[in-house]
């Protein structure tokens, strides 16, 4: 099956995202936020799923989001358009699930041996720690970056959902993290 | 105790990968250690030990130990164990179970095994919650405490598993905690030594669910809770009612001599065979 056909086959604007890293990095939540923003505010169709069971306990944790303007038939990812990897292990595990033309975004400190030359690297965790004060918001930083880089979700939607979902008292930090994500992506695009 | 501290490792299954599946700090690992030390101290051959369990975090224990192990269905371990024991009475049969496994779905088998006074030892890891399925309240969750299915606080009243066991007919009933390991070792050893149905209720920390949902956070906090609220039975009997409030009694609560089921059956068979021969 050549790639052109494949693209066509799965629906013209189907877009498959995987956020991956290790447990505790908040990637499931990030996936839910992303899906919620795209689905309930941007108004596209969306399916979010995650590894459940043994896999979820292994080294690599992941959240998948499939986006489409049309009906989404198969709910799980088939070939990723976008992979976010916050650890080397996740990157190694999931890179093979990507399309050739897919976008790879990694934490540049954690993924020291990227499997390809074409990727975007940002030190999400370090930045989160240094600029926001807690490493835990690295997930939100990366969401901002994804938004800015791919446009798969609107800023407005993302801001709204992050606000809504942020635990009380952390709204500000999370908004700052999001902005940070936008910023570094914008800079990278330049 | 004269035990070498690493004797435990001789009883872990070589083929089964360690570390175990339990959460960091989960009391179940402490119970695992205590059970092994107790068996070891009694010099029971590994081949003669059968450890049965149902389903739950606690019921995951047998898979780690190098005995005959039977990981059965939720709540039914005691009934399976009964079959094992009666079919081959020389085996030392131990059931490791949780508050959900033993007292929710498995309550009936529990009380009937007590009644029969069959020579099985039950180690009941009571963490006041269903750990494995993610923190639903259990028959031992105290009233007003939270669980994922008690989002507004538990409106039910908990069992006292030891009282239940005693009234149902068990011959040896004890309680301890994962903080009080010396006592725990003694209680389990005593239970294994008892001819008859023996129950050791072990209060164990599930900080991951019970702790988190009830703001008693980490293992250390929960162990401290056990430390502070346990009152050994010797002391319990002496302190006035009001001093007992909020505390729970530990130690050997009940120890009586009664006919054991397998013995009774053996006697019956002997009687019948003598009768047949005399004919």
């Amino acid at each position: 099956m050549n790639r052109a056909k494949e693209k066509h086959a799965v629906g013209s604007d189907r877009y498959e995202i995987r956020l991956s890293g290790s447990g505790g990095q908040g990637l499931i939540l990030a996936g839910v936020i992303l899906a919620q923003a795209i689905g309930t505010i941007d108004g596209k169709n969306v399916v979010q799923s995650q590894s459940y069971g043994p896999e979820a306990r292994g080294g690599a944790s992941r959240a998948d989001v499939v986006v489409s303007g049309d009906e989404i038939y198969y709910p799980k990812t088939m070939k990723l358009d976008l992979l976010l990897a916050l650890t080397q292990e996740a990157c190694d595990t999931y890179f093979r699930d990507m399309k050739e033309t897919g976008t790879l975004i990694v934490d540049s400190n954690m993924v020291t041996q990227p499997p390809t030359q074409i990727y975007h690297g940002f030190p999400f965790i370090q930045l989160a720690k240094e600029e926001i004060g807690i490493a835990m918001v690295a997930n939100v930083v990366s969401l901002g970056t994804i938004c800015e880089l791919t446009g798969i979700v609107s800023k407005k939607a993302l801001i709204e959902v992050v606000k809504m979902r942020a635990p009380r008292g952390t709204e500000e930090k999370n908004m700052k993290a999001l902005e940070l994500g936008f910023k570094i992506a914008k800079e990278a695009k330049k | 105790m004269e035990l070498k501290s690493d004797v435990i490792h001789q009883y872990l299954r070589p083929k089964k990968k360690f570390p175990h599946v339990w959460c960091s700090g989960c009391g179940l690992g402490v119970i695992l250690g205590s059970m092994i030390r107790s068996i070891h101290s009694l010099d029971i051959p590994k081949d003669d030990v059968v450890v049965c369990s149902g389903i739950g975090c606690s019921s995951r224990l047998p898979v780690y130990v190098d005995f005959n192990t039977l990981h059965t269905t939720h709540g039914r371990a005691i009934a399976f164990a009964t079959g094992v024991k009666v079919a081959k009475p020389r085996l030392k049969v131990i059931v490791v179970t949780g508050d959900g496994d033993c007292l929710a779905i498995g309550g009936n088998h529990f009380i009937h095994a007590c009644r029969r006074n069959i020579d099985i030892t039950v180690i009941l890891a009571n963490n006041w919650i269903y750990g494995m399925t993610g923190g639903q309240f259990s028959p031992t969750t105290p009233t007003e405490k939270f669980g994922s299915t008690a989002p507004y606080g538990n409106i039910e009243q908990p069992f006292n598993p030891c009282d239940l066991a005693i009234s149902a007919g068990a011959s040896y009933v004890a309680r301890s905690t994962v903080y009080h390991v010396d006592q725990l070792d003694k209680m389990i050893t005593g239970a294994l030594n008892k001819r008859g149905f023996s129950v050791v209720e072990v209060l164990s920390n599930c900080h991951t669910y019970f702790g988190r949902l009830n703001k008693e956070g980490d293992p250390v906090t929960m162990l401290n809770y056990f430390k502070k609220h346990a009152l050994p039975v010797q002391a319990w009997d002496k302190v006035p009612e009001e001093k007992r409030a909020g505390k729970f009694v530990t130690g050997l609560l009940h120890d009586v001599e009664k006919d054991e089921y397998c013995d009774n059956y053996e006697k019956l068979v002997e009687r019948l065979q003598a009768k047949m021969e005399s004919k």
Binding site: G24 | K4, C57
Partner: protein, 94 residues
């Protein structure tokens, strides 16, 4: 904003575990004079030994695992190895 504690799923470990160790390996960070052996591959950094050691023998390392910081204070009271839920501590005595 990290995940809420992960939903537990039946019959699966709720925590990330490292499955690298096959059998206890004797690892000693402090040389053979240490009163204890700690199997770091098994230790899950629960903090129990560190918090409860009556002699405050341990200090946490970067990952929260116990470093035997004050070996000579150890009285071999056994608390740590009896309470380590991961069976990751044994005594060097006897």
């Amino acid at each position: 904003m990290a995940d809420k504690p992960k939903k537990k799923v039946e019959d699966k470990p709720p925590e990330k575990v490292e499955n690298k160790a096959k059998a206890p390996e004797k690892e000693e960070r402090k040389g053979s004079a240490d009163p204890l052996k700690i199997f770091y591959h098994w230790c899950k950094a629960c903090n129990i030994c560190i918090a409860f050691c009556p002699q405050k023998v341990f200090e946490p390392d970067r990952d929260g695992k116990p470093i035997i910081a004050r070996p000579y204070d150890c009285t071999q009271c056994a608390f740590c190895w009896l309470h380590c839920p991961d069976l990751a501590i044994v005594s060097n005595e006897k």
